[in-house]
């Protein structure tokens, strides 16, 4: 019986990849451990090994194909005693042993076409079809050409553009240079800017965060990448005590213009130690600017602003959003203002406040609610510190109801802060108590069902909205 080889998931968040190269051809005998192909994921080029023995019967997906969905059949192997040439496209399912459960799950979801169409579809699923067009950022002139860009590319472009403009800007972190970034965010930077400005560090967050902060004090503009913000806890003393407090402690004499950036929040199935949103931690510290964008345009415009700022900035990205594609305006000087929230979907009945990946869920919930006759306004905070209270309170004054959606722990969260603001400064506008929708108050579990149960989703946000609307 022919064995189907399927596009493997080679990282926790991989949904598709490029079949860069076949290292075998039909008729080749293969055994377990032989390298069959090179597959480019969103993070790296990986070798794809054979698990089963047999003869290559057919290469289904030709090399060079982009956007091959995880779980798609890429080749067939004829089993022992089977005629490779006669191996027909297998009607039977592939042996379970060669396929991980995650792959199956994803395969079910990813039945769409490959390539750019898939990207467009992915983008559409984030801003659901039929949704009111997101409100244009006031800083983008009408008629500006838009280019579909992934968040990952947008971040890279922002760094590259600022590095071209300012010699003082450099990037340091683990695997940012030769490896092209653990999540490929710094892809191509080494090639363009060389090893002096794109610097691989040893795995010593505490040390290199301090070196970065010191370089900023010495007049440079470092971008320090943390592979994820979970590891930045080892370095948090330099972020808080060295970077955030210096300007104040020196009476405005000594600055620390540095950007600490990297993915933050839960990724996918990586367990408790790799899955935490530190937004509330950093946002509680005076002296820091904290930015947590959702889409690619904001990622680009705000990262450029962060690099230009003379203040220390914590720039919180989200791994699950890196691969999503959004329109980014084609403007040379596309720099967005720090400290300004954005109404991403207008509505009159209720306000949903969110940031980072939560915005995607909030938009999805708003779509569901619209079908029920509830028009939700969705606000993306974008900057967590300084917080744009005015935009939140103005929206609340119009809708009189509010839900805060946050992918993070509920206790002492950004949601808590927004609710406090609503109480202190928006009490007269409230027709219902503000509700928060956060992750469950537990360390993030590994098991797929438990993880799903712990994290926020659109359904929970929609339900909270119904509650505050007394529907």
């Amino acid at each position: 019986m022919a064995i189907e080889l399927k596009m493997p998931a080679l990282s926790p968040t991989m949904e598709e990849g490029t079949l860069a190269k076949w290292l075998v051809k039909p008729g080749d005998e293969v055994k377990s451990g032989d390298i069959l192909a090179e597959i480019e994921t969103d993070k790296a080029t990986m070798e794809f090994e054979a698990v089963d023995e047999g003869t290559i019967a057919e290469l289904v997906v030709p090399e060079g194909t982009e956007g091959v969905k995880v779980g798609a059949v890429i080749a067939r192997i004829a089993g022992e005693g089977e005629d490779a040439a006669a191996a027909t496209p297998a009607p039977a399912p592939a042996p379970a042993a060669t396929t991980q459960p995650a792959v199956e799950e994803k395969a079910e979801e990813s039945d769409g076409p490959v390539g750019t169409e898939a990207k467009a579809k992915a983008a559409a699923s984030i801003a659901p079809a039929g949704a009111a067009k997101p409100v244009a950022d006031p800083e983008i002139p009408a008629g500006t050409a838009m280019v579909a860009t992934t968040v990952r590319e947008a971040l890279r472009d922002a760094m590259a553009e600022e590095m071209r403009a300012d010699d003082r800007v450099f990037v340091m972190g683990e695997e940012v240079a030769e490896y092209q970034g653990a999540y490929k965010v710094t892809q191509g930077l080494l090639e363009e800017f060389g090893p002096k400005r794109v610097i691989d560090t040893p795995i010593t967050e505490y040390g290199f965060a301090g070196i970065g902060a010191g370089a900023a004090m010495g007049g440079l503009k470092p971008i320090v990448e943390f592979m994820t913000f979970n590891f930045a806890m080892q370095a948090i003393d330099h972020i808080i005590n060295s970077a955030a407090k210096t300007n104040y402690m020196s009476g405005g004499q000594m600055r620390c213009p540095i950007v600490f950036r990297g993915p933050n929040g839960a990724a996918s199935r990586v367990g408790a130690q790799h899955s935490q949103n530190y937004g509330p931690w950093y946002a509680s510290v005076p002296g820091l600017v904290v930015i947590a964008p959702y889409d690619a345009a904001d990622a680009k415009g705000l990262l450029r602003a962060a690099i230009r700022s003379d203040d220390p900035v914590v720039f919180l990205e989200n791994e699950l959003v890196y691969g999503r594609s959004f329109d980014v305006p084609q403007i040379d000087e596309f720099v967005l203002p720090i400290g300004k929230a954005r109404i991403v979907r207008p509505g009159r009945d209720v306000t949903i406040v969110s940031y980072s990946i939560g915005v995607g869920f909030a938009l999805e919930a708003a779509e569901t609610l619209a079908a029920e006759g509830i028009e939700a306004e969705v606000i993306d905070l974008r900057t967590l510190r300084p917080l744009d209270k005015a935009t939140v309170l103005e929206s609340l004054a119009r809708t009189n109801r509010m839900v805060v959606a946050e992918e993070g722990f509920p206790v002492c969260s950004i949601a808590s802060e927004i609710i406090a603001i609503a109480m202190e400064e928006g009490f007269d506008s409230l027709d219902a108590p503000v509700l928060r929708v956060c992750d469950e108050d537990v360390p993030l579990p590994y098991a797929a069902n438990l993880e799903k149960a712990a994290l926020i989703d659109a359904g929970r946000i929609a339900q909270a909205v119904r509650n505050v609307c007394y529907r």
């Binding site: 505490y206 040390g207 290199f208 301090g210 902060a213 003379d310 203002p337």
Partner: protein
């Protein structure tokens, strides 16, 4: 003249023990092996042995200062001593609050080392015991004392205090309150010098207590890996707060602690300003030549407690008296001056001038107004958002 610690020195100048050849790269690498592993090991050994700056220091310990230079060192050390005594006094009067760590006894370290730097070009960074390093870098005692008393005219506008003072103009970068944090920050300053190719070096001071911080070794690794122009200075005053070095450190010879990172070490008597200065010459020549960092251990002693609230019960009165009477750096410099024929009157004139300077600083610090209340909200962020 020796520091407080007795330690064996005969092994310092010897080359390190022969070592096993370094393992060659894994077989999978495509880099061709040009030399045999034995040859590489031999060359490696020779190179590392050459890095023993201790030998250069041992060969010539005393800096040949001119009379004018020595007078300058003496004046700076006396300024630090009198300034710190006054600060202690003002603390007792309740004019200085919080933590206040005095540098009395350690003066020769900052003066000897920083006299070898180019003020305003080379960077200096230290921990919370920072008054002496500032004075040694020519920063006005008035604005330092006014910071200690928490006045608006203080160098940090009264918002930093004793442990958080900075002068970017003098390239003095603090003044850091978290033990050991100044070490990677200092490497960052050195990184900036190298990045800008301005020829500057950074001198990063830390104590024997901070020398046990993990971040110090992360920094050693990167500083050596990237050949950063930095001099790491361990001011070993014998006590990490109240913990004697031998009670807190498995390796009490701090100058050896860079060996694992191929950073050459120097063991220096920190109670003799001329020895300190000469050692600085050796270290700076090495660093300025692009060879990467040097680790200097300066053996010194603080006469006062760790901070103002420390009764220093962990050491005997006799120990302190012994250091004060037999190893005082200021007295030694004075004796050297007298030996050279500098008159007692000339030395007294300096003492008088310094007393006057310190009295003025104290007056200024007491009479300056506290910061305006609006200052509470300024300088949190540089920009408006």
């Amino acid at each position: 003249m020796r520091g407080c610690k007795q330690k064996e020195t005969e092994d310092l100048a010897k080359p390190a023990r022969p070592r096993a050849p370094r393992t060659s790269k894994p077989a999978t690498t495509q880099t061709p092996v040009v030399q045999s592993s034995e040859a590489i090991a031999a060359q490696d050994e020779a190179e590392f042995a050459l890095r023993s700056l201790q030998q250069a220091h041992a060969n010539n310990k005393q800096y040949e200062a001119s009379d004018a230079e020595l007078l300058r060192f003496y004046e700076q050390m006396v300024l630090i001593r009198r300034f710190e005594e006054k600060a202690g006094q003002l603390y007792g009067l309740g004019l200085i609050g919080g933590f206040c760590h005095l540098y009395i006894g350690q003066e020769a370290v900052a003066v000897g080392l920083q006299s070898a730097l180019k003020e305003g070009h080379d960077s200096v960074i230290t921990g919370y015991r920072d008054h002496g390093h500032m004075l040694a870098y020519g920063i006005d005692p008035k604005v330092i004392m006014a910071e200690l008393t928490g006045r608006g005219a203080g160098i940090s506008r009264g918002k930093g205090g004793s442990m958080h003072m900075f002068s970017t103009e003098h390239k003095f970068y603090g003044g850091h309150g978290i033990v050991g944090a100044q070490v990677p920050l200092g490497a960052g300053l050195a990184f900036a010098h190298k990045y800008r190719e301005d020829g500057g070096v950074c001198m990063a001071y830390f104590g024997d207590g901070a020398a046990n911080q993990g971040q110090v070794y992360e920094t050693f690794n990167m500083a050596a890996l990237w050949k950063l122009p930095i001099v790491f200075v361990v001011e070993n005053n014998g006590y990490a707060m109240g913990t004697a070095v031998r009670r807190g450190s498995a390796e009490t010879h701090f100058y050896r602690r860079g060996t694992a990172f191929r950073i050459p070490g120097m063991d220096v008597n920190g109670m003799d300003v001329l020895e300190v200065r000469q050692a600085a010459e050796v270290a700076l020549e090495f660093v300025r030549a692009g060879n990467g960092p040097v680790l200097m251990e300066l053996n010194t002693y603080r006469y006062r407690g760790h901070s103002m609230s420390d009764p220093a019960k962990y050491r005997s009165r006799e120990e302190v008296q012994e250091m004060r009477e037999k190893h005082d750096p200021i007295e030694a410099a004075k004796q050297e001056l007298l030996k050279r024929g500098v008159t007692e009157d000339r030395i007294k004139d300096i003492d008088k001038k310094v007393r006057q300077q310190v009295a003025e600083a104290a007056d200024f610090a007491e009479s300056s107004p506290e910061p305006a209340l609006e200052e509470l909200y300024t300088d949190v962020l540089v920009e408006k958002y």
